[in-house]
């Protein structure tokens, strides 16, 4: 069944269209004036202006490694993040902690820990899977580089971004 669309009956001045056009011009004109005088501001001028202060707590930026309050690297190289990582951005080479190290009882640590930021999709699976709470997604989002090598974050860079996280799991602390 066809639907009959009711068309409104136009008065003669409405049929001239000129009042309609004028009305439209007033609407666009008002927007023009408002934007021009700065009364209405929608666009943020990145990178001069940034929204960093307003990023939510759960924002998912670059993944990074953290140390605990005693400067121990939390990561024990269990490679679960490497396993879970959907784009396979993470490469870990585990190594044994030498027996003269302060934390020798932890036995294992990452010898190298590389995250290929060209591959990373910021999904946060690594953070979710980590049993040692050693990897976190920070708020850094502007990851740039001029070569592929530069886009691979190595262990040093990851700890640089990550910094220290206090509290959380403490299964390796002095008491235990």
């Amino acid at each position: 069944m066809a639907i009959v669309v009711k068309r409104p009956k136009l008065r003669w001045w409405e049929q001239l269209y000129l009042p309609g056009i004028a009305k439209g011009l007033v609407v666009t004109g008002r927007h023009f004036i408002n934007t021009l005088t700065g009364r209405k501001k929608v666009t943020m001028q990145y990178p001069e202006e940034k929204w960093d202060a307003n990023l939510p707590e759960h924002y998912r930026g670059a993944p990074a490694l953290v140390t605990d309050e005693q400067q121990r690297e939390r990561c024990v190289a269990c490679q679960l993040c490497e396993f879970i990582c959907p784009p396979r951005a993470i490469t870990i080479k585990p190594e044994e902690i030498p027996s003269d190290d302060k934390w020798a009882k932890v036995e294992k640590r990452p010898g190298s820990f590389d995250i290929d930021m060209i591959r990373c999709i910021y999904c946060g699976m690594c953070e979710e899977v980590c049993p040692e709470q050693a990897i976190f997604l920070r708020k850094d989002y502007a990851i740039t580089g001029t070569s592929r090598d530069e886009m691979v974050h190595d262990k040093k860079k990851l700890y640089e971004i990550g910094g220290v996280r206090e509290g959380l799991v403490n299964k390796w602390n002095d008491l235990k």
């Binding site: 190289a77 269990c78 396993f83 585990p94 190594e95 036995e107 049993p131 299964k171």
Partner: protein, 571 residues
């Protein structure tokens, strides 16, 4: 149904099955398709029954009171079962007629939960650093049968960690669940009883006898049978998580025993090798010396990656097709008898078959392989350190390997042999040749996985794949035909030796329609009488008995069979 023979009827989880007399309850359940969780039980070791994980509910025919009639059997001859109120261990008890076993139900499940909880009470939660994670029975069974949470609020018992118990093994006593498999293995199989429990009680500790260490050549088998991460291999420790690795079922090529193994690799790197059960060849075990002899495969520094052609005394990099074309152009100039071949008893039957083809193509008279002899160790290692000597006898037709090498040396010196093809061998290191001997040759071609002195002297060097990089079949000392499977790719332009020989034959003018090792096996099965009727699939993962060599089984296997016969172990 069960009257006529030694078969006994047993009801497992409500279904009646028949098993031979003397079968352990746990084996009966396994054959019925029910896995009973266990830690201490191992079919190749005695059963102490100390882990209590395999507790099941058992029932027997009701015993009539005095004066009462026994219950009437039903049409199958079974009587109703009266269930016992307490569980029994399934690993050390044998089945009895009309027995009932319940592997599920409240009693069994509560028992398992309780046993799991007690085992986990003192077990450290260090799965993230534990090498066993991913293949740990404790992890698996706590998921399947555990409570999910611990009620243990006290301090866990402290025990020695990271203990050096032997040159190849590290022990973490906190992880140990006292199943005693390792103790029994060292005692019963390796005949080197150095392990034992001390401080019995809540501080039970696995320890090595004072002043001794666990240095048996079979010690690494304890790492395989350890259900948790208490014993770890120094070699594999922290190298790779087990879930990343690809498992390839193949055979060991370090001696003529042909031990069945699994190669664990990831991204073209071999990380570890473990024995694979084959009761006709190696039972569940393998020697440490063979297990750890794979590292050179990963070492790209020492590997040949590209063909080399010698020009003006210097090796130049070349393409495979270039190298083959050059070799064939040189070889065509010689008369019959001027070319000799030294093949290898490390080659597969398929490769040896292709060598035969090459031999007739070039009209070669002198052909031999390099023999490798060693000491047999009274366990698994054979005195013949070549994996395929039987194949050389059968396929290549060389009955006395290594016998004519001295004659070959003389023929080279006298100029009778002008060209030599050395396939997958290193004459200077392994066969007593010197560089001076080889200098007399007009043309020398070698194929080998690594750089070696013979290759230095060769006019054409071809990188040929090693055992982990090729597929094929081999015949072990007892005449068993077994498959070798490709686990990793060879580096650079490495080709499997049969490909090299095929290309050479083709370049010399002999056409063939061979594209894979199985193609060759088809021809082999058609032309060599011993192989008649066999197909690649017939061989299977466990191999098949092909010929009678007259050789005895390895001593370890003979002893194991005696223990099975005496009922000491299941086998």
């Amino acid at each position: 149904m069960a009257e006529q023979s030694d078969l006994i009827d047993v009801e497992i989880d409500g279904v009646w099955h028949s098993f031979p007399k003397g079968t352990r309850m746990i084996e009966a359940c396994r054959q019925a398709g029910v896995e009973v969780p266990h830690y201490c039980y191992h079919p190749k070791l005695s059963s102490p029954g100390n882990c209590r994980m395999c507790l099941v509910q058992m029932g027997m025919p009701p015993r009539p009171r005095p004066g009462e009639d026994p219950p009437e059997p039903d049409e199958d001859g079974h009587v109703p079962i009266s269930w016992m109120p307490r569980p029994v261990i399934a690993c050390a008890n044998t089945i009895a007629p009309n027995m009932g076993i319940r592997t599920t139900g409240e009693l069994t499940e509560t028992c398992r939960e309780g046993v799991m909880e007690l085992m986990l009470a003192n077990h450290p939660l260090d799965c993230p650093i534990c090498d066993q994670a991913g293949e740990c029975s404790l992890q698996e069974f706590s998921v399947e049968h555990g409570k999910g949470e611990s009620r243990f609020r006290e301090q866990k018992v402290k025990k020695p960690k990271n203990v050096d118990v032997g040159p190849r093994i590290r022990l973490d006593d906190e992880r140990c669940i006292m199943c005693s498999r390792c103790i029994r293995f060292m005692d019963e199989v390796a005949d080197d009883p150095v392990l034992g429990f001390t401080d019995r009680g809540s501080h039970t500790t696995l320890a090595v006898y004072p002043g001794r260490e666990m240095d048996s050549n079979y010690s690494l088998n304890t790492v395989d049978i350890c259900p948790v991460g208490a014993l770890t291999s120094n070699d594999f420790r922290f190298q790779m998580r087990v879930w990343f690795m690809k498992e390839t079922q193949t055979i060991d090529t370090n001696c003529a025993t042909g031990t069945n193994i699994t190669v664990y690799s990831r991204q073209g790197q071999i990380y570890r090798i473990t024995p694979r059960q084959n009761n006709e060849v190696n039972s569940d075990w393998m020697p440490d010396s063979h297990r750890l002899s794979f590292h050179w495969i990963n070492d790209l520094e020492s590997r040949l990656t590209d063909p080399l052609i010698k020009e003006d005394g210097k090796h130049k990099l070349a393409d495979y097709s270039q190298a083959i074309a050059y070799a064939s152009q040189r070889l065509q100039k010689y008369d019959a008898g001027e070319v000799a071949i030294v093949a290898s008893a490390r080659m597969t039957n398929e490769e040896l078959y292709m060598v035969n083809k090459l031999k007739s193509q070039l009209d070669v008279r002198d052909i031999d392989v390099v023999a490798r002899r060693g000491e047999a160790d009274n366990y698994l290692i054979s005195d013949d350190r070549n994996p395929n000597t039987a194949g050389v006898n059968t396929v290549l037709g060389v009955k006395d390997p290594g016998a004519s090498l001295d004659l070959l040396k003389k023929d080279i010196a006298s100029g009778k042999v002008k060209a030599l093809l050395v396939l997958q061998e290193d004459l200077i290191s392994d066969a007593g040749f010197t560089a001076e001997d080889l200098k007399q040759l007009d043309f020398l071609l070698t194929s080998y996985p690594t750089t070696n002195p013979t290759a230095d002297a060769a006019d054409v060097v071809l990188p040929g794949a090693c055992w982990a990089e090729k597929s094929g079949t081999m015949i072990n000392a007892t005449g068993r035909l077994q498959r070798l499977n490709r686990a990793v790719d060879g580096p650079g332009q490495t080709l499997e030796p049969w490909e090299i020989i095929r290309d050479l034959i083709q370049e010399l003018g002999g056409g063939n329609g061979i594209y894979s090792a199985t193609d060759i096996f088809k021809q082999l099965a058609a032309e060599v009488s011993e192989f008649n009727g066999l197909t690649w699939g017939d061989i299977g993962d466990q191999g098949t008995q092909l010929i009678e060599t007259g050789a005895e089984l390895p001593p370890l296997l003979q002893r194991e069979r005696a223990r099975v016969a005496s009922g000491e172990i299941i086998g």
